[in-house]
């Protein structure tokens, strides 16, 4: 589908397609600059163009016809990590993330209209992530690659050197792929232990279920242990966050509609999600339906039921584990948990409830680790710099770095591997699950 330029666009504006950055969003910025110092790209380059304030200013200039939609706008909009740290500090509440995503949508549509598509990107955005069957195939191939000895062979023969270094390194830290994706392994309904406090439909995600299906299984166990009935809607698909980040809003809308329908049918009290990036995207579904009141209402309904796993456990009330788990951990705030969803307290309170566990805070725990969706593949230099800073901040003597997002888990695994440190990279819910399992073995 190719979008037609719309006549609705502001006069002289170079945002010619539907769903453009809205005036009511960018006019809120008073240009105070309080966002500069929390922006990873501004910190690295000191260039106003690559700061939140600069990006909003350029988006505004483009919307008002002062700038064409050329590299001067496109580059800054795509160097943004979409980490939303700026939104946490902004006194005026500018939705920088939404503005950047909408501007990327304009770029995506414009390239489409000009026939300048990026075939690789398009293949992943439209051909892989929205198609659960293809994700399963990829998952199986990767498991085969790991188990069959192919991986060993590939590594020893050096054939991997044909890959770009960033991809090659990522290959190195892919976790051991489990037997099957949670969406297939888990039954459709799992009864809670004890009295039923609530029902939650589990959103299994794409990356999470390919690389970290263990985390999904742990999530289900922990919910059940705390009196939550878990439902696993089998025809759900990827949340569409990557599409929104890349500007492919049409595809994202289709995916959102599918998920909204599927989870409406599941009829649970909550939609439980353990990936920060997906959680933020699910909560922001209404943004995608600005011009479609009927779907917008359904999206609002859907989003109001979405909870990050840590949030859900605190909300319904969780049992503090009774067994000791003697370990020292540090917690990394995934951007899409702390900045986009304002969730900082809940994961920490889960961790602190574990007897014997010590939480050592790292400085600037809410600074982006550089993963940022696929940013580490598209902008490796910046991503590496951020990863180095993150690893420098890890306190000495901890056994694990804990977080709530699969993208960060991959990125930080890479950091650990590079530094050759004896550190585990864990999801918050895995820590809790581990503690509960120890109860049984007492």
């Amino acid at each position: 589908m190719v979008n037609e330029p719309t006549a609705v666009a502001a006069k002289g504006s170079d945002f010619r397609f539907p769903d453009a950055p809205e005036e009511e969003k960018y006019s809120v910025c008073v240009h105070c600059g309080f966002c500069l110092e929390v922006c990873p790209t501004y910190q690295a380059w000191g260039d106003e163009n690559h700061s939140p304030r600069g990006r909003v200013y350029l988006i505004k200039a483009c919307a008002e016809g002062e700038l064409p939609l050329d590299e001067s706008v496109i580059d800054p909009v795509f160097t943004c990590l979409d980490c939303r740290a700026c939104e946490t500090v902004c006194p005026s509440g500018v939705q920088v993330g939404a503005l950047v995503e909408e501007a990327r949508g304009q770029v995506f549509y414009a390239r489409d209209a000009e026939g300048k598509r990026d075939p690789v990107m398009r293949f992943f955005l439209r051909g892989v992530f929205p198609r659960p069957a293809r994700l399963r195939v990829i998952r199986r191939l990767m498991r085969f690659y790991q188990k069959s000895g192919l991986q060993k062979l590939a590594r020893s023969t050096g054939v991997l050197r044909v890959l770009p270094p960033q991809v090659r390194e990522m290959e190195d830290v892919i976790p051991e792929i489990g037997r099957g994706p949670a969406i297939d392994v888990l039954p459709e309904t799992i009864a809670p232990q004890g009295e039923r406090k609530a029902t939650a439909a589990l959103f299994t995600g794409c990356v999470m279920d390919v690389f970290f299906s263990d985390v999904n299984e742990a999530t289900a166990r922990v919910l059940v242990r705390n009196g939550v009935e878990v439902r696993v809607p089998k025809d759900q698909i990827c949340c569409g966050a990557l599409q929104v980040h890349a500007g492919d809003r049409d595809m994202a809308r289709e995916m959102a509609k599918r998920n909204i329908e599927v989870f409406e049918r599941a009829g649970a009290d909550y939609v439980a999600i353990n990936a920060a990036g997906c959680g933020a995207a699910l909560k922001e579904y209404p943004e995608l339906f600005r011009d479609d009141p009927a779907w917008r209402d359904r999206a609002v309904q859907f989003s109001s039921r979405v909870r990050d796993i840590s949030q859900l456990l605190v909300e319904v009330g969780f049992d503090p584990p009774k067994a000791e788990l003697p370990m020292a951990v540090t917690y990394h705030d995934a951007c899409h948990l702390c900045h986009a969803q304002k969730i900082r307290y809940e994961p920490r309170s889960l961790l602190k409830s574990v007897p014997g566990l010590t939480l050592c805070e790292m400085p600037d725990s809410d600074r982006c680790c550089g993963s940022a969706g696929i940013y580490n593949l598209t902008h490796p230099e910046m991503a590496n710099e951020l990863l180095e800073r993150k690893m420098d901040d890890v306190p000495e003597g901890v056994d694990a770095i804990v977080m709530g997002n699969p993208g960060c888990m991959m990125q930080i695994r890479l950091g650990v591997k590079r530094r050759n440190q004896p550190l585990r990279v864990m999801h918050t819910v895995e820590v809790l699950d581990l503690a509960y399992q120890r109860e049984g073995s007492r």
């Binding site: 008073v30 946490t88 006194p91 509440g93």
Partner: protein
């Protein structure tokens, strides 16, 4: 296709640290003052004194105008390229070069962020005292240029009281050292001249500042007043009682509404006229007693409620609420101009009434946030640039507010600088002879008049700003006539000096 001068700049700093395509430099069209914009001809990002010197030498020799820029959070347009200047961004010169904890000195590059300095020395219980509200982003170089103040300057003084020496690149590219890390530098006080010169006399590339030991204890109180006059009298009485608080800040109802809508929500009552944020610091043994006296004075002036912060988190929230107030204006208005007038503290109620009158007459809302302790007002004039004529009206309203401050015996700026925003009012504050003396200083440093020209000091004749100022004066002549004591207005120079003795902590150094 690019000009030869760009090639030369690229030769000095490299391709990646020079922006010159017109669309690429658009983001540098203004700083925190957005009412006026202009496109720079290029933006360069030097990383050393040597690079700054080579850039300046080349540009000066070739008569190419330029100006320095820090974080671009200034509120008077000091970094706005109104004359097609090359912008020299110091953002990448952000190193902490040396710290001498025993002698309490730090040497920094100009792009180091104010609060970052404090963070980097806090492990030794030290901090850098001047704390503009933008301290989490603004740079020490920018503070140097504007002689920035902040909430705690009531007790600790402004930037000029904390800078002891600097390495400065002069307009023609020569490099000099001014001031002395210890003791007083003999000869003319060139450092004093350079601090607050708004980038018109040179670029500081290494700045030696004092750092202080953190006070042993602090107490912070929040006091709600039904009437602004009571809050104002409270401030006068606290200082009259011989107490020197670390800070006394005031906000009015409109400002409270804006911040309460932001991430920094305190939950102020919606029916009070003023809130005071009062902090005292010093030896642990004394602070409680001093705070008790402050609370007592508040009570004497019909305070509705006064609370002392019970935790660091509570104190931090109250301070964020105050410091984020400007930025939070976006919650209630798309644009604002912030003024920076200083008045003798005792005339606060009267001047606030005048501001309210200006607000009604122009049909523009004005929120008030200010350093009450040193009489430094920050009226925020709210407007919508999309409404034709409203920006101009806001500028004129601002101008009237400043005149009210001067007429009350004060000054047009306490800490934000003159920039382009208040240049028209310079002619109101100073006589032609006085401005001529200032111009003479400028031409000693910059005989070509091309370094951040048109800022701070109105230029003779060719300066558009002066013309605009004249127009404004002519348009508003009636208002001037309506002032009760015209003689007092004419004698304002002497008057301001007298009153200045009291307000000197916040006035320009």
């Amino acid at each position: 296709m690019r000009d030869a001068y760009i090639d030369r700049l690229v030769e000095i700093v490299g391709e990646r640290r020079c922006l010159w395509r017109p669309h690429q430099v658009k983001a540098y069209a203004c700083d925190g003052y957005t009412a006026e914009e202009g496109l720079p001809r290029a933006v360069v990002f030097p990383e050393s004194t040597d690079e700054v010197a080579r850039i300046c030498r080349y540009l000066y020799e070739n008569d190419i105008p330029y100006l320095p820029r820090g974080a671009g959070t200034g509120l008077s347009g000091g970094a706005t390229p109104t004359g097609g200047e090359v912008v020299i961004s110091l953002a990448r010169m952000n190193k902490l070069l040396a710290v001498d904890f025993d002698n309490l000195r730090a040497v920094v590059q100009p792009g180091l962020v104010n609060l970052t300095l404090t963070r980097r020395v806090s492990h030794a219980d030290c901090y850098y005292a001047p704390d503009p509200s933008s301290q989490s982003v603004c740079t020490i170089g920018g503070n140097f240029a504007e002689n920035a103040g902040g909430s705690h300057c009531l007790k600790y003084g402004v930037t000029t009281n904390h800078v002891v020496a600097a390495k400065v690149v002069l307009p023609d590219g020569d490099v000099i050292d001014v001031g002395a890390p210890f003791g007083d530098a003999p000869g003319y006080d060139l450092l004093g001249l350079l601090v607050g010169s708004e980038g018109t006399l040179g670029i500081a590339t290494e700045i030696t500042v004092r750092i202080l030991k953190k006070p042993q204890a602090l107490r912070t109180a929040l006091a709600y007043f039904d009437r602004v006059a009571d809050a104002s009298d409270t401030v006068t009485d606290i200082i009259g009682a011989g107490i020197i608080p670390a800070a006394i800040e005031m906000m009015d109802q409109l400002a409270m509404q804006a911040v309460d809508k932001s991430n920094y929500h305190v939950g102020y009552p919606t029916d009070i006229e003023a809130v005071l944020l009062i902090e005292v610091d010093g030896l642990a043994a004394g602070v409680d007693e001093v705070m008790a006296r402050v609370v007592e004075i508040c009570r004497r002036h019909r305070v509705r409620e006064v609370r002392v912060a019970q935790s660091d988190a509570e104190r931090a929230l109250w301070w964020s609420s105050r410091k984020m107030a400007f930025g939070a204006m976006g919650r209630i208005s798309p644009d604002y101009i912030v003024q920076d007038g200083v008045i003798p503290r005792t005339r606060l109620t009267e001047v606030l009434r005048k501001i309210d009158e200006v607000s009604r007459r122009y049909g523009l809302k004005i929120a008030n946030v200010f350093h009450a302790g040193d009489g430094n007002l920050h009226p925020l004039i709210l407007y919508d640039s999309r409404v034709p004529g409203e920006a101009e009206r806001a500028v004129r309203a601002g101008s009237e507010v400043l005149r009210a401050c001067v007429d009350a015996g004060g000054s047009i700026t306490g800490e934000h600088g003159v920039g382009i925003e208040k240049i028209g009012e310079m002619a109101y504050m100073f006589s032609e002879d006085e401005i001529h003396a200032q111009r003479a200083v400028k031409s000693c440093f910059d005989p070509k008049g091309i370094v951040n020209a048109g800022k701070l000091i109105p230029l003779p004749g060719r300066c558009v700003e002066v013309k605009r100022a004249r127009e404004i004066i002519e348009e508003n002549w009636q208002i001037l006539n309506s002032f009760p004591d015209q003689a007092a207005v004419q004698a304002r120079g002497a008057f301001a000096q007298e009153a200045g003795a009291e307000t000197s902590t916040s006035a320009q150094g």
